[in-house]
């Protein structure tokens, strides 16, 4: 049966066009270079001015190593995950299942070399004769599988109406404008496009039309943005141990530092050490922070557990450190390539005996950049370990954003006494609350003054940093640390609040769940108007309390099973414990607006 016949047999009635509002999923086998093709599509849509977002969803250990790249375009600017209507089926192992998952009216573009695909009358099928299209293209045999992916780029461009010049530009950006690579790839795109226009008839309603909604924006991953923020925050010692999904944070840091942080003589103003494990990475960061360098590490949940004793030590000995946790699911392998917000309560109180740490929650690449530099300021100002809790979804995927604002404040190095100041003061007590904000003064090793030195230890100490197990000394220390934490409440990034004038229901969330929530709120605008407080950090301040006070019910939405932030908020505001309701969920995938909407409605209906 010819392609055209098969299409006619499907007999789709012409539907009204769906413009700039759909999701597309590319299913390929890992390691075939499909990422380049996918990012070329993403960038093409972006360059057409259409709001777009791409998510790579990849299980860590399944035969055939499938990966699914989801691209959502939305003229309204929604970028949360949404089930796809369009499938590019290029992975023989998953194709059958992928096709079954499409909604009625969906589209399947498939590699014509795939055999025995399931038939469905309610879909539009477009074949892509990959072998034929790449035959004779002048590239080394080794690169053939890579350029094969360009065949779907060409056919998707035809199907959606993406001008070839746009694809060319996107490819250029993707390959860093290395002309030869661009050319060989483009050759396949053009061939595929031409073949499609001659041999296929468009039968689906999905189309792209240029807009101007991405003008001036950038596309970047959260890990890149966070690393860039750290570069502009003056990070000078970074220590790490590889773990998905945080590895690309350090990859980015190691790529950016040499470009941006050489001194006048070309010498590095930084060092990045791959430690023997996360425990050592944390130790290096503590040592560096103690000695006066801006230091950070990045890891994921399993690494956080190895850092526990050092983080606890950093709390008691009051040592600045920044720890990025790109959250994933579970211990050991867990679901290492799946996103979650599962480390919130663990990170917040990590340690032994009444430890609490500032925790920042970036939700976008702009905030990843901002918290990248701000966390280093906070750690030194507060003299304590500071967590930045990102997640796999934000860290590893590409997101649109405004070009980052240059840091609004100069570097803040905190209360560090110089030799001259020591001389004027006639000495200092390392752990004394001189200013009433709970934050003591410190000196750095190497300070040329006989009164600069002090002894740092995790065990009990008095204000002079002398060993002490006296009850009064310990209580005093703990009370001051609590006071310091209160100071932190108004130093950490404040929540972003959208107060609805008449809403009785409020939502509190943090990090990347915001996209599904924002979309759901819009869809519920009539039926269930809500206010939204997006928490950007712990500990909470008065604004959070006021927000809860102003609503009858507040749903705390998060990506874990037990409602970890919900528990923390209940603890912090026992007076509102019953007003705070947990809406928590984790299946390893980012939330969808549909899920949020349905859950909120059923919660409200069940009242």
């Amino acid at each position: 049966m010819s392609v055209l016949e098969r299409q006619q047999e499907a007999g789709h009635a012409t539907r009204s066009p769906v413009i700039n509002d759909f999701s597309l999923v590319v299913a390929t086998a890992n390691g075939t270079g499909s990422q380049t093709a996918n990012l070329t599509l993403l960038r093409s849509f972006f360059k057409m001015g259409i709001p777009v977002h791409g998510k790579n969803i990849f299980p860590s250990n399944i035969q055939g190593l499938p990966t699914w790249y989801h691209i959502r375009v939305s003229h309204e600017g929604y970028i949360a995950r949404k089930p796809s209507e369009i499938l590019v089926a290029f992975n023989p192992v998953t194709a059958a299942e992928d096709i079954q998952e499409l909604p009625a009216g969906g589209v399947c573009l498939y590699n014509a070399d795939l055999k025995n695909l399931p038939k469905r009358d309610d879909l539009v099928f477009y074949p892509i004769p990959v072998s034929e299209l790449i035959a004779g293209v002048d590239v080394p045999v080794k690169r053939k599988p890579y350029i094969a992916n360009m065949a779907y780029v060409g056919v998707v461009a035809w199907m959606l109406g993406v001008p070839l010049e746009v694809v060319e530009e996107a490819l250029g950006a993707q390959f860093g404008y290395r002309q030869k690579l661009v050319e060989s790839n483009l050759q396949v795109v053009r061939r595929a496009h031409e073949w499609a226009s001659q041999n296929l008839r468009k039968q689906d309603p999905y189309r792209l039309e240029p807009m101007n909604k991405t003008e001036g924006l950038i596309i970047m991953t959260g890990n890149e943005a966070g690393a860039l923020g750290a570069v502009f925050g003056g990070v000078s010692v970074a220590a790490w141990y590889p773990i998905t999904p945080s590895t690309s944070f350090m990859d980015a840091l190691r790529e950016f530092l040499p470009k941006l942080r050489k001194d006048e003589n070309g010498k590095p103003t930084y060092t990045v050490i791959q430690a023997e494990d996360e425990l050592a990475a944390a130790g290096m960061v503590m040592g560096a922070g103690w000695a006066g360098a801006r230091a950070l590490t990045s890891t994921s949940g399993p690494g956080i557990s190895l850092m526990a004793e050092f983080v606890s030590y950093g709390y008691f000995a009051e040592i600045p450190a920044v720890i990025w946790d790109i959250q994933r699911v579970g211990p050991s392998t867990g679901l290492p390539t799946r996103t979650s917000q599962g480390d919130v309560s663990f990170a917040y109180t990590l340690g032994h005996g009444d430890t609490k740490h500032p925790v920042l929650f970036p939700s976008s690449i702009e905030e990843s950049f901002e918290f990248g530099w701000k966390s280093l300021d906070l750690a030194e100002v507060l003299q304590t370990p500071v967590f930045v809790l990102s997640d796999l979804d934000l860290g590893m995927n590409n997101w649109m954003g405004r070009p980052f604002d240059y840091p609004t404040e100069p570097l803040q190095r905190g209360k560090v006494l110089s030799a001259t100041e020591l001389e004027a003061l006639g000495g200092f007590a390392r752990y004394k609350d001189v200013d009433g904000d709970g934050i003591p003064y410190r000196t750095l090793p190497g300070t040329p003054h006989p009164l600069a030195a002090y002894f740092t230890r995790g065990s009990g100490h008095n204000e002079q940093a002398q060993y002490s197990e006296r009850a009064e000394d310990y209580e005093r220390l703990m009370a001051r640390l609590a006071r310091k934490f209160d100071t932190a409440r108004n130093l950490v990034p404040a929540p972003a609040i959208e107060q609805h004038p008449s809403a009785r229901v409020g939502i509190i969330a943090y990090g990347t769940t915001r996209y599904a929530i924002e979309e759901a709120r819009d869809r519920l605008a009539q039926q269930l108007p809500t206010s939204f407080l997006r928490l950007r950090a712990l500990p909470i301040n008065q604004a959070v309390r006021d927000f809860v006070a102003a609503h009858e019910r507040v749903y705390v939405i998060e990506l874990n099973r037990d409602g970890q932030l919900h528990g923390i908020l209940q603890n912090e505001m026992p007076e509102y414990a019953t007003r705070l309701r947990s809406v928590a969920h984790l299946d390893g995938l980012p939330l969808t607006a549909e899920w949020v909407k349905t859950r909120l409605l059923s919660e409200e209906a069940g009242l």
């Binding site: 003589n265 590095p268 060092t271 050490i273 922070g289 103690w290 750095l444 190497g446």
Partner: protein, 349 residues
């Protein structure tokens, strides 16, 4: 007192940087009277005074244990960091990356280094972080009351711990294999050797490991125990008579007689003189050093001295091309300009 002022009341003999020996003291020791660790502390004080060290240029670090408490008891005018059990190496690495111009003295125990901290110890030496790393080795966990450590001899019987069933870890062998270029063994009862070794180690540009047998008088000091005072005093077998000659005095050394007096040049031009006591021992030969250690282990010989020396590896700070200490960078060096950010983001449009 933990932060003693330079004493200006009593007329004391001052060294070249205007400090008395007392200025190198720390707080009063809380360790048991007679503990080997105390003798090592007092040699560190002596070295500070004799070498005219500026206390603010030194950091002292430790893990956890009786031994690791000791940095509080020397060099009170130097910054100290009593870290986590077995994790001093990573803290030292970080601190010395932040400021590679500091001189670091680390004190650890055989439990702290040979068990919980073995991994970090090995990686410290692999990276060749410049520091003096002293293991106060007593074969037991003093602080937790006398359990066997990994350096205890096989078959050793102790009142509390019972009989040790496993062969010992030899920290000098571990150090040589891990790439340390300055590896010595000594005995807390041999004050002069300890002192000269610490002096030489301070001039070494890399990790200098001193495995010092330091008797625990409370849990492991019966005369028949190889880590006791009695045994050490009777059986210590120095490989050589060892002296440290600071750079400035270089001209004073006597001409060498091969086979008898050997000198080893340290990075800063200082010398170690070694007068052989063991048949023609050559500490620059790695295989010979390992062989000698293995032989000593087999025969139960208590050899001491500079066991291995190789100054050729670059230190971590050199590998990382550190220049201005990272802790002393200016705000301009730490934060690139506004235009750099704008330029950089162009590629992401």
């Amino acid at each position: 007192m933990e932060n003693p002022m330079p004493s200006d009341r009593i007329p004391l003999k001052l060294n070249a940087v205007g400090l008395s020996k007392k200025d190198y003291d720390g707080a009063a020791s809380t360790l048991c009277k007679g503990c080997g660790h105390n003798s090592i502390s007092s040699q560190i004080v002596q070295v500070g005074y004799e070498l005219n060290l500026r206390p603010h240029e030194i950091i002292k670090l430790s893990g956890i244990g009786c031994s690791s408490k000791s940095p509080a008891y020397f060099l009170g005018m130097s910054h100290g960091f009593n870290a986590l059990h077995g994790r001093m190496p990573s803290v030292a690495t970080g601190a010395l990356l932040a400021n590679h111009t500091l001189k670091a003295i680390g004190v650890s125990g055989d439990g702290d280094t040979g068990s919980i901290g073995m991994g970090q110890f090995k990686h410290l030496m692999r990276r060749n972080v410049r520091m003096v790393y002293i293991v106060e080795n007593n074969g037991v966990y003093g602080l937790t009351k006398g359990q066997f450590s990994a350096t205890a001899e096989e078959g050793l019987e102790l009142k509390y711990a019972g009989q040790n069933e496993f062969p010992p870890v030899d920290l000098c062998m571990e150090a040589i294999i891990a790439g340390a270029g300055f590896v010595a063994r000594s005995f807390a009862g041999d004050a002069k050797q300890v002192r000269e070794l610490i002096k030489a180690a301070l001039s070494f540009r890399g990790t200098a490991v001193l495995d010092i047998i330091s008797p625990c008088v409370t849990f492991n000091n019966e005369d028949d125990s190889p880590k006791s005072y009695g045994y050490g005093t009777k059986n210590e077998k120095p490989l050589h008579e060892l002296g440290f000659i600071p750079f400035a005095k270089e001209i004073q050394i006597e001409p060498m007689e091969p086979g008898e007096l050997r000198t080893v040049k340290l990075h800063d031009g200082s010398l170690i003189s070694l007068r052989n006591l063991d048949a023609d021992y050559d500490p620059t030969n790695k295989l010979a050093a390992l062989e000698r250690l293995i032989r000593a282990q087999e025969t139960g010989e208590f050899i001491t001295g500079l066991i291995y020396y190789n100054p050729t590896r670059p230190s971590l700070a050199e590998v990382e091309e550190l220049d201005t200490p990272l802790a002393q960078l200016s705000p301009e060096q730490l934060r690139p300009g506004r235009e750099k950010l704008e330029q950089f983001l162009q590629a992401y449009r």
